[in-house]
């Protein structure tokens, strides 16, 4: 529940997949907020957040994900969330953020959704 926050980004063709892990608190987020945006490029404008290993997110983390989603749209891409735990998924659905960033059950489902739309 209190694993240290970390993230990594990888390119999957036109998609940037950002994997988040641990607890996304304001303190953990502060040093990496800008880096998250900088890894988005016009070569891979679509974005998938892999939330498989994300234990916790609060409103500042949500704000960072929304900022990345906006950046993605500016680049002509679309954003998806993949594989959140039930507790994390509930935060997104409660706030209706799944309307902004649709939730998929896995990274592969998210990639398929981006390919097929």
């Amino acid at each position: 529940m209190t694993r240290t926050f970390g993230w990594k980004a990888e390119r999957r063709e036109r998609v940037t997949v950002i994997s988040l892990r641990g607890a996304m608190t304001l303190e953990a987020l502060a040093p990496v907020r800008e880096e998250l945006l900088h890894c988005l490029t016009s070569e891979a404008p679509d974005l998938v957040f892999d939330l498989t290993a994300l234990d916790f997110i609060a409103s500042d983390g949500l704000g960072a994900l929304l900022a990345a989603c906006r950046r993605t749209r500016e680049l002509g891409g679309r954003a998806r969330l993949a594989a959140p735990t039930p507790l994390v998924r509930q935060v997104f659905t409660l706030l209706r953020l799944d309307r902004v960033m649709p939730i998929c059950n896995s990274v592969e489902d998210a990639l398929h959704s981006l390919r097929s739309n």
Partner: protein
């Protein structure tokens, strides 16, 4: 503001921490409270809810209440027992009116960068109350899996 009578604890039941207006100090206070939850074997779901509400209250106090001013302080009071958790966070700011915070789930607000903390606190806690000026929040979480060890007064 004293602890609301309906929260079912006495003033003397509360532990008080006075901490600097810094994220690291807030995390240390949060970890202390989470250790108490773990000691009382709160469920994963309940712990998530309390951590989320506490994180939102502390973040609001540091950023918006005390305006990131490191010369200011926060006061955190808490009580953890098997059947309930009571939390209080007070900043040294001039407060706010909760009714002025727009609904973050309204279509036009969905992508706003902030404004979700208050709703999350209400959604995940059993009761949330602010003092008159809005610089002090009290939150109650009842542990539904535990029989009440104390009748709320």
């Amino acid at each position: 503001m004293n602890v609301p009578a309906e929260f079912g604890v006495r003033e003397s039941d509360l532990t008080e921490l006075v901490i600097p207006n810094e994220l690291r100090a807030a995390r240390q206070a949060e970890e202390r409270i989470l250790r108490e939850l773990s000691r009382h074997r709160y469920s994963r779901e309940c712990t998530f809810a309390i951590k989320l509400a506490l994180e939102e209250a502390l973040t609001n106090a540091i950023k918006h209440g005390n305006c990131n001013d490191s010369a200011k302080r926060l006061i955190v009071r808490f009580h953890v027992s098997p059947d309930r958790v009571v939390l209080m966070v007070r900043d040294e700011g001039c407060g706010f009116r909760p009714c002025d915070v727009p609904d973050p789930t309204a279509e036009e607000n969905l992508e706003r960068p902030c404004g979700r903390g208050l709703m999350l606190m209400h959604a995940y806690m059993s009761d949330v109350r602010f003092n008159e000026i809005g610089n002090e929040v009290w939150m109650l979480k009842l542990n539904r899996n535990e029989p009440a060890s104390r009748t709320p007064r």
